[in-house]
């Protein structure tokens, strides 16, 4: 174990987490599913006084979180959301994890059962670079595998912004707000069925 470092609440927060953090109300009860080493939870605790909890698959991530005083358990979004009672949280956050879940549809339903609303961020596999890569090079786009070879990537359920909107419609999930983050984390609103955002959003 490395010496305990305090998570820096402001510096180095991933662009998508910055947007997520802006959407969380002060004092809210928040569950961060796939919270990693707790950067977002620490940020929310420091800046918004949230009552934050986390679930993280990796034991190193969990231990880092707990040693920073965050309430985090080792668990799996596919199996452990069922333990929580209805409406236990104001907000359930799933950042950059949706694509690695075995059953994303059930996970979304569970998140909205235990939380009054949910914030989901995911890599957009409809981005133009991915499309070009597949079309011109005939290889699985790097965006899909996120640093892994296709045969070992944990990202088993890649989806595009339009895919996600379509699934929400099918599940009768109302999308309250949506933004696409482009180059350098620039945010732009997603409109309609998300055609343009699907091309430029990362």
């Amino acid at each position: 174990m490395t010496p305990r470092r305090d998570p820096r609440p402001d510096i180095g927060l991933r662009p998508d987490l910055k947007v997520v953090a802006e959407w969380v109300n002060p004092g809210a009860r928040v569950l961060d599913v796939g919270c990693g080493e707790g950067a977002l939870l620490a940020h929310l605790a420091a800046t918004k006084a949230v009552d934050g909890r986390g679930i993280e698959l990796s034991q190193e991530g969990v231990n880092a979180c707990v040693s920073h005083g965050l309430a985090v358990i080792q668990g799996d979004a596919d199996t452990d959301l069922g333990d929580y009672p209805d409406d236990a949280f104001d907000m359930v956050i799933l950042s950059q994890t949706l694509q690695a879940i075995r059953d994303p549809r059930s996970a979304l339903i569970e998140m909205l059962r235990i939380g009054r609303c949910a914030i989901v961020s995911f890599p957009n596999f409809g981005h133009w670079r991915a499309r070009v890569e597949l079309m011109l090079r005939g290889r699985v786009p790097a965006a899909t595998v996120l640093g892994h070879a296709w045969y070992e990537t944990p990202n088993i359920h890649p989806c595009t912004i339009r895919d996600f909107i379509a699934l929400c419609r099918r599940l009768d999930i109302e999308i309250l707000r949506a933004v696409a983050l482009g180059e350098g984390g620039r945010a732009s609103a997603i409109r309609g069925r998300g055609g343009l955002a699907n091309l430029v959003g990362r």
């Binding site: 174990m1 909890r53 034991q59 040693s67 005083g69 309430a71 985090v72 358990i73 452990d80 333990d83």
Partner: protein, 391 residues
């Protein structure tokens, strides 16, 4: 290690503890789960670190089956270090520069708190098997009475490993408003059939010793040291992992170059176990071993709350942090996870970390840097929320 051969019964440590001892239940006896009243009774405890002015920095550390109140040494009987030197002390996770750490010898124990070796005021003779069977909840009630006596309303934290973890869980369930945080370590919400089975082997070893005398050995001037030693040997195996035993001993021979083709302790592991057994009887009483193992067997927290563990923690204000150890096969990780699931179902504030180690159940007593760093971090966070000064 050469095993100590022990033929004559040694003087037992009963009651010779140097700890503060408090007489409780004089006017209001303790109502035991068994349905009988116990009182007056004596509780022995040790305290480390300074109590702050508003008595808000108290940590209750609960000991395991064969532990006692001596978190730090030297132990008055063995002269050895205390059982939690790795975790308790200045700058340690249970930092005695910040916290007032109390450890109470459990009810039924043999280091100063009333147990089967003590004199039954009704007969003027040692209780022996006339001592009522006690439960984990009874131990906790006795501790709560001690805290009342000391004027301590609530605990910043209650913690412990193994049976100590059971007490921590029972504390949180029985006195949620008195427990700010709870850290159950390497424990379970109930004893499994396998746990009970191992305990039964130990008890039968004691009962089969002719010197046990139907539990009446104190009056008859004998001590079932052989049975108690065998019980300890069997139990000790369950506290270690196969990997740890292999690393420590392998098939190495004890003080000899070749097998003896006999039943001496050829192997180091045999010699080690014999030593564990023979030293244990110096500091522990056989009947106390029966009573305390029974208390663990009877522990089933969910059963007391309609069979639903989450009900034990309904609306709990307590912050929980659970630890398990990857190679602990006596209280394996899934048992901690079951408690975590129940706490989630009760929407409790809970953290849970499994520590990767090959040291088995005993890991909670040993040098485990990741465990200690994570525990210290949790306590720091809890202290901040409790408004205690940060370190």
């Amino acid at each position: 290690m050469q095993p100590e051969e022990r033929t004559a019964p040694a003087a037992v440590a009963t009651g010779s503890a140097t700890s503060p001892r408090v007489r409780l239940g004089e006017t209001r006896p303790l109502r035991l789960d068994r349905g009988v009243a116990l009182g007056p009774f004596t509780v022995a405890y040790q305290a480390y670190g300074r109590l702050n002015r508003d008595k808000s920095n108290v940590i209750l550390a609960c000991h395991a089956l064969t532990g006692d109140q001596y978190l730090l040494g030297p132990h008055p009987v063995t002269g050895k270090p205390g059982w939690w030197e790795a975790v308790v002390g200045p700058g340690k996770p249970l930092d005695t520069d910040r916290f007032h750490v109390i450890c109470v010898n459990v009810l039924g124990g043999c280091m100063g708190t009333t147990g089967p070796t003590d004199i039954d005021p009704a007969s003027g003779e040692p209780y022996g098997l006339r001592f009522p069977v006690i439960t984990i909840a009874d131990m906790v009630r006795a501790q709560a009475m001690l805290l009342d006596h000391l004027g301590i309303d609530d605990l910043f934290c209650v913690t412990g490993g193994s049976m100590g973890g059971m007490q921590a869980l029972a504390w949180a369930a029985m006195y949620p408003e008195r427990v700010f945080s709870a850290v159950p370590i390497g424990t379970a919400a109930r004893h499994t059939a396998q746990n009970i089975a191992f305990h039964e082997v130990g008890r039968q070893a004691i009962i089969a010793d002719p010197d046990w005398r139907g539990g009446d050995y104190l009056r008859q001037g004998t001590r079932p040291v052989r049975g108690l030693a065998v019980a300890r040997m069997a139990a000790h195996i369950t506290y270690l992992s196969e990997a740890a035993l292999h690393r420590k001993f392998g098939r190495a021979l004890q003080d000899r170059a070749a097998l003896s083709y006999g039943f001496d302790a050829d192997f180091q592991v045999e010699s080690y176990l014999r030593h564990q057994g023979s030293t244990f009887v110096d500091r522990f009483d056989a009947n106390a071993y029966l009573y305390i193992t029974r208390a663990m067997d009877y522990f089933d927290l969910a059963a007391e709350y309609g069979g639903v563990l989450a009900n034990a923690f309904r609306d709990t204000p307590t912050r929980f942090c659970l630890f398990s150890f990857s190679s602990d096969w006596l209280f394996p990780t899934p048992q901690s996870r079951e408690i975590v699931h129940a706490l989630n179902a009760a929407a409790a504030n809970v953290s849970f970390a499994e520590i990767a180690t090959d040291k088995g159940h005993d890991a909670f007593l040993l040098e485990e840097p990741e465990f200690h760093a994570t525990l210290a971090g949790f306590l720091d966070g809890a202290a901040k929320h409790r408004g205690l000064p940060s370190r």
